[in-house]
C-alpha cells in the first residue's frame, strides 16, 4: 500500500472520534433546554456557561480534526 492511500485511510479513521464530540455538544444544549424549562428565570444567567461548555467540547472535536489534517498533509 503506498503512502498516499495510507494517509487517506488514516485521515478517515481519525474522524470517527468526532461522533463522541457530537454527542457531547448535543448533551450540553439538551441539558440547557431541559433546565431552562424547569426554571426559566435562571436561563439567561446560565447561558454564558452553556457557551463556555460548548466551546470546550468543540475543542476536543477540533483536536481530532487537527490529527486528521496532520496525518493527511504531512
Amino acid at each position: 500500500m503506498d503512502v498516499e492511500a495510507a494517509k487517506l485511510i488514516g485521515a478517515g479513521l481519525a474522524t470517527i472520534s468526532l461522533a463522541g464530540a457530537g454527542i457531547g455538544i448535543g448533551n450540553i444544549f439538551a441539558q440547557y433546554i431541559a433546565g431552562s424549562m424547569r426554571n426559566p428565570g435562571a436561563s439567561k444567567q446560565v447561558f454564558g456557561n452553556v457557551l463556555l461548555g460548548f466551546a470546550l467540547t468543540e475543542a476536543v472535536a477540533l483536536y481530532a480534526l487537527v490529527m486528521a489534517f496532520l496525518i493527511m498533509f504531512s
Partner: protein, 244 residues
C-alpha cells in the same frame, strides 16, 4: 496544466517587504501586516469612541462600553476583587483575538490566529503568568493545587500525576483550540468554494451554504475570543486560590 491547489494554501505566510538584520529575517509579512492593522484599528476605535465622555453614550461609545463591561463582569465573577488587577490583560487578549479572528473573515485577508505559533505564544504567556504568580504569592504551597482536599491516601499516587498532566496541558489546549477553530473554519469555506466553481450553474447551492457558514464563522470568532478570555481568568484565579 495549472499546479495543484489545496485548501490549506491560504495559510501560507508571504513576505511583502523584505528586511533583514544580519541573519535574522524581519520582513513585513502578511501576518505581521494584519497584526499592525489590528493594532491600528483597535487604538483608533477605542481612542475615538471614548473621546466625548458623554453620560448618555452614542453608538460608538456604546460599543466600546459594552465590550469593557462584558470583560469587566467576567473578571469580577471569576476573580472577585483581584479582577481589577487582571482586567487590562484579559481585555487586551480578548480584543486582540476578537479583531484578528474577525479581520480574517474578509476575503483575501489573512487570519493571524490560525497559526499555532501565535496562539501558543499567547497561551504560553498566560501559563507563565499563572505559574509565576502562584509561586510568588504562595511559595511552595502553590503545589497544593495538585492535591484537592479530602482525597484518601491511597488515591494520591494516581491523582497527582493526572493533575500535573492536566495542568501542563492547559496552554497546549488553549492554543490548539483557537488555532484549530480558525483553521478548520476557513478550510471548510475554501472547500465549499471549490464546489461552487465545479458545479457551474448549480453552484448557487454551495454558495448559499457558504453564506450560512460565514454566519457560523462570525459566531465562532467571537466565541473563541470570549472562551480564551474566560479560561485566562479561570487559570489565574487558580493561582490566586490554589485550594479548589
Amino acid at each position: 496544466m495549472t499546479e495543484k491547489h489545496s485548501p490549506l494554501d491560504q495559510f501560507t505566510i508571504q513576505r511583502i517587504f523584505e528586511m533583514k538584520i544580519g541573519n535574522i529575517d524581519i520582513s513585513l509579512t502578511n501576518s505581521s501586516l494584519m497584526m499592525i492593522a489590528v493594532l491600528l484599528i483597535l487604538n483608533v476605535f477605542l481612542i475615538y469612541a471614548t473621546k466625548k465622555k458623554s453620560v448618555v453614550p452614542g453608538r460608538l461609545q456604546s460599543i466600546a462600553e459594552m465590550s469593557y463591561e462584558m470583560i469587566y463582569n467576567t473578571t469580577q465573577s471569576n476573580l472577585g476583587n483581584d479582577g481589577k488587577r487582571l482586567f487590562p490583560l484579559v481585555y487586551t487578549l480578548f480584543m486582540f483575538i476578537l479583531l484578528c479572528n474577525m479581520l480574517g473573515l474578509i476575503p483575501y485577508s489573512f487570519t493571524v490566529t490560525s497559526h499555532i505559533i501565535i496562539t501558543f505564544a499567547l497561551a504560553f504567556g498566560v501559563f507563565l503568568l499563572a505559574t509565576i504568580l502562584g509561586f510568588v504569592l504562595h511559595g511552595h504551597k502553590y503545589l497544593r493545587l495538585f492535591l484537592p482536599k479530602g482525597v484518601p491516601i491511597f488515591l494520591i499516587p494516581i491523582l497527582v500525576p493526572i493533575e500535573i498532566v492536566s495542568y501542563i496541558s492547559r496552554p497546549i489546549s488553549l492554543a490548539v483550540r483557537l488555532a484549530a477553530n480558525m483553521m478548520a473554519g476557513h478550510t471548510i469555506i475554501k472547500v465549499f468554494a471549490s464546489f461552487v466553481v465545479v458545479l457551474g450553474i448549480w453552484g448557487i447551492a454551495p454558495l448559499l451554504f457558504i453564506v450560512v457558514l460565514y454566519v457560523l464563522e462570525t459566531l465562532i470568532a467571537f466565541l473563541q475570543a470570549y472562551v480564551f478570555a474566560v479560561l485566562t481568568c479561570l487559570y489565574i484565579s487558580d493561582s490566586f486560590h490554589p485550594e479548589h
